[in-house]
Symmetry: C2
Subunit: 166 residues, 2 copies
DNA sequence: AGGAAGCTTGTTATAGTATCACGCACTCAC
DNA sequence: GTGAGTGCGTGATACTATAACAAGCTTCCT
């Protein structure tokens, strides 16, 4: 059994700042390797994404991008998000119209998410055997897979325990 | 190995009308079993969804819902789609903001789609072992699964063969 | 038949998500 | 320095979805 949890549900006791710093450092490295620029704008958007540790909406980012009073326009944030997505630095959660930071931009992997509908927390998985199975099913139909997304809705442990306590 | 293909990519030689009729008949049965009403409005939306045999956008449906010259308003079609979705008669493709008819509304199953980004065709799968694997992964994190969606982008056989012929 | 309750639909307005198109500024190679 | 490529600002607009309230229809009870 491969280790499949890329990012577990975040608990309140983790070191937020160092976790964001690490993400930004990884991003810098990824961009350098790709020969692309992590501009201040892109960097700021990525930081905002990580600061929430939850799926973030584009327009929420926009509000927080209040550069010196002036309100940024939508293309600003969408361009940054698109850049980050292509670099594998953020994922888009299709069922939420929201974005979340990817903790492992260095390795190519398919997107597999557990989304708690109670608290909004998200865990990211990367079970290669799942991917392999999907590929095999697709191949049987002559279908060539480019990329796949798995989004699972449910309730995380913390929320279930909180519910049980009532 | 369970049979996992619920709906293969539709070829041009299938009998479209009878396939729509069958879908409507199944819908009628499902609604009866659920004690709900397949009103003319809902029925018409479902028929339009099936008539395309591809993912359909809500506003496209809206245009085609030209009831005697009068143009329907968005809530009309969204309400019908929501009803159909809850009854398991249509699926929503999150990555496309589009809807597609479900050929097996009678059996509960998770949504697994192969989406051809070239021609837009979609195949629906139901590989129970995939679902089981996801459930197992989730359980290991204490996560209780409600429902899951798998959307796979790629190229279908027909499009690949067409490309190869060039 | 009368009438209450609940479901279904119509309608207007608005919220939320995303892209287009144009122009300017910056960078970097030559 | 100049031309190509890239990044960003800005205004407009397209696309997707829901809120809120009113009106009509069904069902079921009496």
């Amino acid at each position: 059994m491969t280790r499949s949890v890329i990012q577990d549900f975040v608990t309140s006791d983790h070191d937020h700042d160092s976790c964001i710093d690490a993400a930004l450092a990884r991003a810098q490295a990824v961009c350098r390797a790709r020969g692309e620029r992590l501009t201040p704008q892109r960097r700021q958007v990525l930081e905002l994404v990580w600061r929430s540790h939850r799926p973030v909406k584009a327009y929420d980012l926009l509000e927080r991008l209040s550069t010196s009073g002036r309100r940024a326009a939508p293309p600003t944030v969408y361009r940054a998000l698109e850049f980050l997505r292509e670099a594998g630095l953020v994922h888009r959660l299709e069922s939420l119209n929201a974005f979340i930071g990817c903790p492992r931009p260095d390795i190519r992997h398919s997107a597999q998410f557990l989304i708690c509908t109670r608290c909004g927390a998200v865990a990211e998985m990367d079970d290669a055997s799942l991917t392999a199975k999907i590929d095999a099913n697709a191949r049987r139909l002559g279908f060539k897979v480019d990329d796949e997304k798995i989004e699972v809705n449910g309730t995380c442990r913390a929320c279930r325990e909180r519910d049980a306590a009532l």
